[in-house]
């Protein structure tokens, strides 16, 4: 707000101030209303008499409804501001532009911190209204949950309110005006809006349809973790654990949605980022995965408690942590602390203190309460049966939880560096550092989710002996695994035998999880859907693991550089001295290039009206005897970067087969629009002589005089027949010529595109001795060229189908639990 005072006298032309003023008012209203709601719900929760409880409940409900309406209208106003390109608002100027396709307007909405906070808040309102609707059934518990939820809403409202309190800026408003935020001279002119031609646009990487749908799903997942968290707080406050039956369908819903949201992010990374995969153990990815792991662990321990009344402490802890980790992730991704380690954290808005306060205000009270109730949560003293379902479920939950602890500890390295001033950097191969640990978690979870359902709570197995019931699953698993190893294999030998063995075991155990849970669903549940949520969820999880193992361990690079001219001494694995594979291949326009299984041709490129440059690549699969078996086209594109970044960002393209994807993206490109400054180098040459160029030599075969019989009478032509031999063994023919038409002499150069070579016949130096002068020009800007990376991902569809199946499983179990609650 630095220029607003001196700009007050200026009348600005064409501004639309009403939406912003309304928006400001509504954010403040929602802040106040959520505080009133928190207080009133707390009063209702603690009320001793039914009358005063009803009074407070009424007030609280009204406050929450006002808050929700305010948030909904803010949502609409911000969308209005963006979609109408009102660039007087900073948010619209910073995150959108006029050329953007309409479907990405929503992506602009959540590109910035303010919009995504608003989205998060929006989902809390929707969920809160649903919880309020349950108050007849849940009674006091619902007030407690709403108290917690309203307080979360209050904290989120502070993030978008944009107020100055005692000189400190609280939150960042999505409705602030550009001229209030930016010290640019132009903004003090009355007609500045006419001068602002366009907004700075949406980050090119986010211009992808997954970015329209992934954030809302993910934030619904984040928002929904606060309901089970609220229940857990209520349980601790009341010393009463009856809430679990009501909370479980919310928890399974949340886990399903959060899992789906995370994997949609993975799908976006796969389709639009160029690290060549769907998961890179990036801090931002880890930060969203970890709450999910805690939540899934919590769901399992809550079921243990419901059946056996043990495992209370871990259940409270895990439900607590699933929400607290969401808040911690918010802190990590939004404070800019990950700047050094993550490629896609949010921009820093200078709200670190506030974000830290948001974190502490939940973490400290929760743990104080947790430890105050530690005795109350003690398990009844009895020995666990090793053949019971709950025993192994608990082991599995602990494994999930510790996996989360390991991941978040590693992800928090930048935080330690900040606190302790250390200079710890990630390891050489950060992905492998995670993989070598998590593969064992995958093995444990695979086995446990396979055998778990065949065991009974409190010991014994269902339908006869345990071994008998799983033996057929084991046989089928052995057969399927054998087929997989015979026809697909696990080809990841780079990290040694130990890791390879672990990958083999993990493949078998994930097949086992799929088979055993299918078996349980078909044979024991007799296809009954209502009880099958867990089985279906486990089948999906098994498929996710199997898909990850098969696609990542068999990922192959197709674009090994085979055409490189100054090919460096390659080691047998095709690695450079620094250890990274030389994965880029150069393609010249129109020239087919050999790429292992395929002949690849860069056919042409086109630019669409959004400045997106598409490269048409023809992939022809080589058959036997140089025949072409199959051919297809891929269209990777590049988009000029915006937001002050130069260069372009590449968007991959994939050919999907049922059993594999061919994944390609452009790593650099060059078109000949650049100025060509290279000069012709003259050489004297006789018939039979050769001249070297950087990549081979040129030989003059013979001189042809007037080879064309149809020439006009006054035209004389002298044509050099030359051959060009490159070091790679390829030979080309070139025919530069001189043409005399009366007294006019023209030179007709010849071009060898594949060698970037232009040959010119300059003149005849000495006719009697047959000495001629030619010009040689080597140019890098001669023809259009691109460099590419091409990967093959086998069986990646198993992963995507697994995600869908797992989400379906969570939804089935949510539906079944809701139905069971209604019938009570």
């Amino acid at each position: 707000m630095n220029t607003s005072t001196n700009a007050a006298a200026v009348q600005f032309i064409g501004e639309h101030l009403l939406p912003g003023q309304l928006g400001y008012f509504l954010t403040i209203l929602s802040l106040v209303a959520s505080l009133v709601a928190t207080f009133s719900f707390a009063k209702a929760f603690y009320a001793k008499e039914i009358n005063s409880q009803n009074e407070w409940k009424k007030l609280a409900n009204i406050a929450f409804i006002i808050e929700s309406v305010a948030v909904f209208i803010c949502f609409i106003i911000l969308f209005y501001v963006i979609s109408n390109h009102l660039f007087e608002y900073k948010y619209s100027y910073m995150h959108s532009d006029k050329h953007m396709p309409a479907q990405y307007l929503l992506s602009c909405f959540w590109e910035g911190q303010e919009g995504s906070f608003l989205l998060w808040s929006f989902w809390h309102c929707v969920l809160g209204l649903l919880v309020m609707n349950r108050s007849d059934k849940w009674k006091q518990d619902s007030f407690g949950v709403m108290m917690v939820l309203s307080f979360v809403q209050f904290c989120l409202a502070t993030m978008v309110v944009g107020l100055y309190v005692f000189g400190h800026k609280i939150g960042s408003s999505p409705f602030s005006l550009l001229r209030d935020e930016m010290p640019w001279p132009i903004l003090s002119r009355p007609d500045y809006l006419q001068l602002l031609k366009d907004g700075t646009g949406l980050n090119t990487l986010l211009q992808n349809y997954w970015m329209v749908i992934h954030p809302p799903i993910l934030f619904l997942g984040f928002a929904s973790t606060s309901i089970p968290f609220g229940f857990a707080v209520v349980g601790l406050l009341k010393k009463d654990n009856k809430w679990m039956v009501n909370a479980l369908p919310w928890a399974t819903f949340s886990a399903g949605i959060l899992g789906l949201g995370i994997m949609m992010g993975a799908a976006w990374a796969y389709e639009s980022l160029t690290f060549g995969g769907y998961w890179a153990w990036d801090p931002v990815e880890n930060a969203s995965l970890v709450p999910w792991l805690a939540l899934v662990a919590a769901i399992h321990t809550a079921m243990i408690y419901r059946k056996t009344e043990t495992g209370l402490r871990v259940t409270y802890l895990f439900f607590g942590l699933s929400f607290l980790l969401v808040v911690y992730s918010t802190f990590l991704t939004r404070s800019g602390i990950l700047g050094d380690t993550s490629v896609h954290a949010f921009t820093d808005l200078g709200m670190n203190g506030q974000l830290l306060a948001f974190l502490t205000v939940f973490v400290i009270p929760f743990f104080v309460l947790f430890f105050a109730r530690f005795k109350f949560m003690a398990d009844p003293a009895k020995e666990d049966a090793v053949d019971s379902r709950e025993f192994w479920m608990l082991v599995g939950s602990l494994a999930l939880f510790l996996s989360a602890v390991v991941i978040i500890s590693i992800t928090s390295i930048p935080v330690y560096n900040k606190i302790f001033g250390t200079k710890i950097a990630p390891p050489e191969d950060p992905a492998f550092a995670h993989n070598q640990v998590q593969v064992f978690v995958a093995i444990i979870i695979g086995v446990l989710s396979a055998i778990g359902q065949f065991l009974k709570y409190k010991g014994g197995s269902e339908k006869g002996s345990f071994i008998k019931s799983i033996s057929s699953s084991l046989i089928i698993t052995a057969i399927i695994s054998a087929i997989i190893f015979a026809f697909v294999g696990i080809a990841f030998k780079e990290k040694g035998v130990g890791f390879l063995a672990a990958l083999f075991i993990a493949t078998v155990t994930s097949v086992f999880a799929i088979v055993a849970n299918s078996h349980y669903w078909i044979v024991i549940l007799k296809w009954k859907l209502k009880s099958a949520g867990a089985s279906i969820g486990h089948i999906g999880f098994g498929m996710v693991l199997l898909g990850i193992l098969l696609s990542s361990s068999n990922k192959t690079v197709l674009s090994w550089n085979t055409t490189g001219i100054n090919v460096i001494q390659k080691d047998p694995n095709g690695k450079s001295p620094a250890g990274n594979p030389m994965e880029n291949i150069t393609l010249f326009e129109t020239i087919p290039t050999d790429m292992g299984k395929y002949m690849v041709t860069y056919v042409r490129d086109t630019v669409d009206n959004l400045d997106k440059k598409f490269f048409e690549l023809k992939f022809a699969e080589k058959g036997i005897n140089k025949t072409i078996k199959d051919s297809f086209y891929l269209y990777p594109d590049v988009l000029k970067n915006n937001k002050g970044m130069e260069g372009f960002s590449a968007n991959p393209s994939s050919k999907h087969y049922w059993n594999k994807d061919i994944f390609v993206y452009v790593t650099s490109f060059q078109d000949h629009s650049k100025e060509d400054t290279v000069q012709f180098k003259p050489h004297q040459i006789k018939i039979g002589d050769s001249v070297f160029y950087s990549n081979g030599y040129v030989k003059l075969e013979k001189v042809l005089v007037n080879p064309n019989p149809n020439r006009a009478a006054n035209v004389n032509e002298l044509v050099l027949q030359m051959s060009v031999h490159s070091v790679t063994g390829l030979a080309y023919e070139a025919k530069p010529a001189i043409r005399l038409e009366g007294m006019n002499m023209t030179m007709i150069p010849d071009t060898i595109r594949a060698q970037n070579l232009i040959l010119n016949f300059n003149n005849v130096v000495d006719q009697t001795k047959g000495i001629l002068q030619i010009g040689l020009k080597e140019s890098s800007t001669l023809s259009n060229l691109i460099t590419l990376k091409v990967y093959e991902f086998p069986f990646i569809n198993v992963l995507w189908i697994g995600v869908i199946v797992m989400t379906f499983g969570f939804m089935v179990s949510t539906w079944a639990r809701v139905k069971a609650l209604k019938s009570r």
């Binding site: 025993f391 710890i424 100054n566 291949i585 970067n641 990549n695």
Partner: protein
């Protein structure tokens, strides 16, 4: 002691072992001077481009060969070889984090992380590219 407690202890011990062994894999940030002393050790350098020496990259000759020179804040200089394409914006970047090893006189780089402050600060980026009225 109950069996779950034993399992819990085993798993926690496993997690601690994992975290400790992970610390063995961790690398460090070094200056060019100290990196030269540690030949062949994987490390991270925070540097900026040495603009006095031109960047060599020619995708026609070899798309997997990039050579450039860098310097750090203490004045140390080193030549870098990177067997990959040239990252977009590398020459504009104010700060580079290079991951790799010093081998002889050159830094064999396996990954480059670009630091554009603009990427993390909306306002800084915008200030750099603020609109100006041309006809004034």
């Amino acid at each position: 002691m109950k069996k779950t407690h034993i399992i819990l202890l085993v798993l926690i011990a496993a997690a601690i072992v994992v975290l400790i062994s992970y610390t063995g894999d961790l690398s460090s940030y070094e200056t060019i001077g100290s990196a030269k002393q540690k030949q062949g050790k994987f490390l991270n350098l925070i540097v900026k481009m040495d603009k006095s020496i031109p960047v060599q990259y020619d995708p026609v000759k070899d798309p997997n060969l990039l050579k450039f020179a860098v310097q750090d804040s203490l004045g140390g200089k080193i030549n870098v070889v990177y067997h990959n394409t040239m990252p977009t914006d590398m020459e504009k970047s104010e700060r580079l984090v290079l991951k790799g090893k010093v081998q002889g006189d050159v830094f064999e780089c396996s990954a480059i992380v670009l630091k554009c402050p603009s990427k993390y600060k909306d306002n800084a980026a915008a200030n750099k590219n603020q609109p100006v009225a041309i006809a004034d």
